[in-house]
Amino acid sequence: MDESRLMNFRDAVLEALFLEMRADPNVILVGEDVGAAGGVFKQTQGLFDEFGDRRVIDTPISEPGAFGMAIGAAMSGMRPVFEVMFGDFMTLCMDQLVNQAAKVRYMSNGAARVPLVLRTTMGTGANLGPQHSQGFYAWAAHTPGLKVVIPSNAADAGGLMRAAIRDDDPVLFFEDRLLYNSSCEIASGLPIVPIGSARIVREGRDVTIIAIGRMVAFAQEAADRLAKDGVDVEIVDPRTILPLDEATIVGSVKKTHRAIVVDGAPRAYGVTGEIAATIMEQAFDWLDAPVMRIAAVNAPVPVSRSLEPLVRPDANTIENAVRAAIA
């Protein structure tokens, strides 16, 4: 039997790129400093040396044009992985993303496709401030035609990147920078994780926490503390928010009768509202308490070391919410 390996998030995604680029010559990597420099977060190291400048392409700081070109390359037969260094800069690509990439298949009645991955980093916790900390996945998930992936751990990150590259539709892949050094055991061969399937992170009877990205780790921390008091928490990680694995989420809530949805992006019109509404629609009669939402405050992310941690939920806020929910 093959042995599993301890691997961190960054290396798992990098290995996924190596595997898919070796398997398919049409896979190319496009972005700023992804080539000889190996990525500003060391996330593309070694790819340039193996695949050369025709497949690992350093662009100028020119996101709208470069991303639009990645779409044209995808339409004409390539499978580009386009890297946006900070998720905040995705706003520069929004026209190409929303008006072109998301709609090409539909507008062509299925004759054209855009097999493209937009890979980007996000997240608070490094004091990077209002223009380098945002996660715009809810914006993206409001656009039919896109798929949106938010891995919470190394194994899912590697497996979902492999699935995203093989997908025939545009996939947005959000990586929380503070997860880059988090490791887990990964089965040999880096198994592909299908897009659109949630994962039950922890089984429990009393309450379901549905947590997005790095919030999964905070939920686990809260669940460990609550277990000492005999509170049995189930945690569901959707892994992809579009398509959303409604069956797994609703199935869990029907078992525990309580739901708390946790997200690290601003609460208004965000992912927590969508998931909470889905639970209300499909599991209302099973609920013993209103669905609770915990998310980031509706404010920009400040730089200050004392203010920044107040923006988003953490293990304490989740623990308090669970205690309120079961009271």
Binding site: S62, G65, M69, I71, G72, S76, S108, N109, G110
Partner: protein, 329 residues
């Protein structure tokens, strides 16, 4: 039939090619006239932008391409679709949003995509097609292919940042792209001079080291000659070129535009430069075909398009159950 023609600008093309380009221009002109009538009668959903007057830029450029080459078009793009080989009945049905349209009635006039013929699409976003064509060229470079990609855009896109970004990248990577500006004098209702700074439009390509020229876009032979040079240059691996074709849209921005912003004298002067009159004159002057034969060609184009109109107008609407098809693969 094969004798080479010389026009006033010194460009020369093969007689048979000129005849073929003339025929395609006639088909585009009368396709657009048929669409105009259909739109006036209320048969066309939404907005429709016609390219009558600009046929020489559509046809002269695409005549220099191989079937395998790519184009990306814009919102005034029916002529590009036809010149690249689109079936006119399917295109007409698409513009009317019918089930038998090339894109099943989903795209209408402004979003027709025809991958079978290397057409990355007409486009509802001004400048939106530019990176798509440049991206197809980037893909060709990655594959080691010498396919050439043409981006068509109007003078309205000259001030979009996307154009300058893509020119820069096409130049640093020597991509096989031909940037073609169809300068018809107006971006929607606004004259180019009111919104476009600087002494030179070719200068906007030259700053990136891209060979750039401004030509008479009403002369299909001049357009073809410029395109031939640019396409050969791109295919040989030398990189992008920029061609500004000065032309004129005979209609307004869209069907129904009263064009109060246009000057009557200017309109009359441009009408005299009709690209069809010019190529017809060149054909008969060189003895390629008789005036009667040219008139017959026009009649054939009129009949071809008019014969399609009723059938297309009465065609089936897309079925409700197709609404959600092809959102994802």
């Amino acid at each position: 039939m094969n004798k080479a023609l010389k026009n006033a600008g010194g460009a020369s093309v093969d007689g048979r090619l000129l005849l073929s380009m003339h025929r395609t221009m006639l088909r585009i002109r009368h396709f657009e006239e048929t669409i105009r009538r259909l739109a006036a009668s209320g048969a066309v959903p939404g907005l429709v932008h016609l390219c009558a007057g600009q046929e020489a830029t559509n046809v002269g450029i695409i005549a220099a391409l191989e079937d395998r080459d790519f184009i990306a078009s814009h919102h005034r793009g029916h002529g590009h679709c036809i010149a690249k080989g689109a079936p006119v009945e399917g295109l007409m049905a698409e513009i009317l949003g019918k089930a038998s349209g090339m894109c099943g009635g989903r795209s209408g006039s402004m979003h027709v995509i025809d991958m079978e013929r290397g057409n990355l699409g007409t486009n509802g976003i001004v400048g939106g097609g530019i990176p798509l064509a440049a991206g197809a060229a980037l893909a060709a470079r990655a594959r080691g292919s010498d396919d050439v990609c043409v981006c068509f855009f109007g003078d309205g896109a000259l001030n979009q940042g996307l154009l300058h970004e893509c020119m820069n990248m096409a130049a640093i990577w020597k991509l096989a792209v031909v940037f073609v500006c169809e300068n018809n004098g107006y971006g929607e209702f606004t004259a180019i001079d009111d919104v476009t700074a600087g002494p030179s439009l070719p200068g906007r390509g030259e700053v990136f080291g891209i060979p750039s020229e401004m030509i008479d876009g009403m002369d299909v032979q001049a357009v073809y000659a410029a395109a031939r040079k640019a396409v050969d240059y791109a295919r040989a691996g030398h990189g992008p070129s920029f061609i500004i074709c000065n032309t004129w849209r005979f209609g307004g921005h869209h069907v129904g535009d009263k064009q109060e912003y246009k000057d009557d004298e200017e309109t009359r002067a441009w009408r005299l430069r009709d690209p069809l009159l010019r190529s017809a004159k060149a054909l008969s002057a060189a003895g390629i075909v008789s005036e009667e034969a040219i008139a017959q060609m026009e009649q054939d184009a009129i009949s071809e398009m008019a014969a399609l109109a009723d059938g297309v107008r009465n065609g089936s609407e897309p079925a409700a159950q197709t609404l959600l098809e092809h959102v994802y693969g």
